[in-house]
């Protein structure tokens, strides 16, 4: 499959005004490279402060990267103006965490779904109406006519998120960024959205970048997975191999921390790394993870940043434990 979205050494700095004339730089994303192929799905997993959300926003070009290149279908869109991004905006869509906040509460379902069509001047009113009802059927909000005039506050979380999916879908995009799409939804409805994604991916060949803190849902939905820590990717690989054989100590800790409904859990404490992820304003030198790492090698990990090395087929990690 052809490469759809390519991120080459992407870096993103934020300026935080600290004093009258000086500002602090926060490097939210630090030299990240990623390739998303057509019809593929990559999960970006990390804790808060890992830069995963920033990476997602960069992938949609909602932010201009400070360094590196961003290519969509081979076209450089790193610094393209909003006007030149029109085509990209049509082919790349986003689904965001909070389905209540990401949808205009002043619009009914019909208006919400019509908006992308209006923005990109698609079709006549009749064509648009047809497209809207098609999209609603696809996200299983039926009977369509019941939902069209409703406002989002009358819908449940799962239904709202499906409206958001419908809106992302209606322009027939090639790429969808899903930023924590199920974290605000009740556990019993999460799988429904994930199945919907999977169905759309298989049916329309849409590529997904799935940004989440929840390695379990990512593990189910994504074929590949990237684990981020403090702005850097520390491990990347095919999901099956990454979850079964996590190499990076951070990935291992992350997987260990995920609770599973097992009654024996309460009898013993879970093995967990100590401390919290440090502030990205002053990242530690060397490997970002070394202050919390159980396998920390003095004089090595705290000096030089480890490079990504292959540890298996289609599986690599940035850790000195693996030569």
């Amino acid at each position: 499959m052809k490469e759809l979205l390519v991120m080459n050494h992407i870096t993103m700095d934020f300026h935080v005004k600290k004093q009258l004339f000086s500002s602090l730089i926060i490097r939210a994303v630090d030299d990240v490279s990623l390739k998303l192929e057509g019809g593929e799905s990559i999960g970006i997993v990390g804790e808060s402060g890992s830069g995963k959300t920033t990476l997602g926003r960069l992938a949609l070009r909602l932010l201009k990267p400070t360094g590196g290149d961003l290519l969509f279908r081979g076209q450089d869109i790193t610094r393209a103006s909003e006007a030149n991004l029109k085509v990209f905006r049509r082919q790349a869509q986003g689904i965001f965490q909070d389905p209540f906040a990401s949808i205009d509460p002043f619009m009914n379902v019909h208006q919400i779904l019509e908006e992308p069509l209006l923005i990109h001047r698609v079709g006549s009113q009749d064509v648009r109406r047809e497209l809207i009802s098609q999209a609603l059927k696809e996200v299983k909000l039926t009977p369509v006519n019941d939902f069209l005039p409703r406002y989002t506050h009358t819908l449940s979380g799962g239904q709202r998120q499906r409206v958001a999916v419908g809106r992302a879908l209606i322009l027939r995009p090639d790429f969808i960024l899903a930023d924590e799409p199920v974290s605000m939804i009740d556990a019993s409805s999460r799988a429904e959205i994930l199945y919907l994604f999977k169905e759309l991916q298989e049916k329309h060949g849409i590529s997904f970048l799935y940004v989440t803190h929840d390695i379990a849902t990512a593990g189910y939905f994504c074929r590949q997975m990237a684990v981020m820590y403090l702005g850097k990717i520390v491990e990347f690989g095919r999901t099956s191999s990454l979850i079964r054989k996590p190499h990076h100590p951070y990935t291992q800790a992350l997987i260990r921390a995920v609770p599973s409904p097992d009654p024996s859990n309460r009898t013993h404490e879970r093995l967990v790394i100590s401390g919290e992820s440090p502030s990205p304003i002053k990242p530690p030198p060397g490997c970002r993870f070394h202050p919390r790492c159980p396998n920390f090698i003095v004089g090595k990990c705290d000096v030089k940043l480890p490079q990504m090395v292959a540890v298996g087929e289609d599986h690599s990690t940035a850790c000195y434990l693996y030569p």
């Binding site: 379990a216 609770p259 097992d262």
Partner: protein, 320 residues
């Protein structure tokens, strides 16, 4: 005789749409040293249950009845003032949801922890502060945190402070409401380990409220599942996690994506019920995969299964 016995507790809110039930005839018992998990999805009434026990309900409560028997005294018969003086925080305390804004932003952390103790007659400030320091140490916070303001702490640290605060009087029972919902998984695991240790070391009784069945398994000896303001199933953790009986509990369990196994997570079709217009019969009936005629018309009572487990489902209506 349990430490806390709740019988037929009801709590409703008066809203523009009329009277909306939040807790609808809930009964359960917590024994000393035992942890009960209340698991339910948003709107199931878990947090209302907690506020009913702690008497921190919002103003628009219209119906607040039942029996809350705590260490032998019926809380509902106590006046607000008596409840505050005798029970609240001293014998029954709480760790609140959303640690982010549960701390007073203008008071130093140490003082907030020590505050209830400072008000006790006969306790010297020095003593109270020493206790607070010690508690902060127990929740693995460095001593300097004592002199910090809440906004200088991370979410995980604040949650630890909240736990320390709940322990200041060495209470018999702690209600813990979604302690980790805003935290990252690793921090969540740290906090759960901490709670587990306290439970063991202090023989604490805990009422653990969460939407996450997997998280409940970390701490709870028995689990109650709430749906639409009712407890629809309650039993020991083993039973509930290995062999849930109620269709809702079953679905809830298999909706959790597992990392270790290759099973597909499942989901429940439909939306959670609108509490202002509950369906007739069983509240879960419109989404239930085992629904039959009786479910549509009659609201099921709690059936006690031979193992002692309670299920509110007509499927078990003939097993007495």
């Amino acid at each position: 005789m349990g430490l806390l016995e709740v019988k037929n507790l009801r709590l409703s809110y008066g809203t523009v749409q009329g009277i909306v039930p939040a807790v609808d005839g809930v009964s359960f018992t917590i024994e000393a040293g035992e942890t009960l998990g209340i698991v339910g999805e948003s709107g199931a009434g878990k947090s209302s249950l907690a506020s009913a026990l702690m008497r921190t309900m919002p103003r628009n409560v219209v119906n607040y009845t039942g029996i809350i028997e705590f260490e032998g005294s019926n809380c509902l018969e106590l006046s607000d003032e008596a409840f505050r003086k005798q029970i609240r925080w001293q014998r029954m305390s709480m760790v609140f949801q959303g640690a982010m804004d549960s701390l007073n932003p203008v008071i130093k952390v140490g003082k907030q922890v020590a505050e209830p103790l400072l008000l006790k007659p006969g306790i010297k400030p020095k003593q109270a502060y020493a206790t607070a320091q010690q508690l902060l140490k127990m929740v693995m916070l460095s001593p300097e945190v004592f002199h910090r303001y809440p906004h200088e702490l991370s979410g995980g640290m604040k949650q630890r402070v909240m736990i320390a605060m709940a322990l200041i009087f060495n209470p018999k029972l702690i209600l813990i409401d979604e302690p980790t919902s805003a935290l990252d998984v690793i921090i969540q695991a740290q906090i759960m380990n901490l709670l587990k240790r306290f439970k063991r070391e202090f023989k604490l009784s805990i009422l653990f409220i969460t939407h996450d069945l997997a998280l409940a398994s970390d701490l709870c000896d028995s689990i109650a599942i709430m749906y639409a303001g009712e407890i629809i199933e309650m039993g020991s953790a083993e039973e509930m996690l290995l062999e849930p009986k109620h269709p809702y509990s079953q679905k809830l369990l298999v909706s959790i994506p597992r990392l270790a196994e290759d099973t597909r997570p499942e989901f429940i079709v439909g939306a959670p019920p609108d509490m202002t217009a509950l369906p007739p019969g069983c509240y879960f009936q419109p989404r239930c995969h085992c629904v039959f005629e009786r479910c549509l018309h009659e609201h099921p009572p709690s059936f006690k299964l031979p193992s002692g487990r309670l299920v509110k489902c007509w499927l078990y209506g003939d097993q007495r």
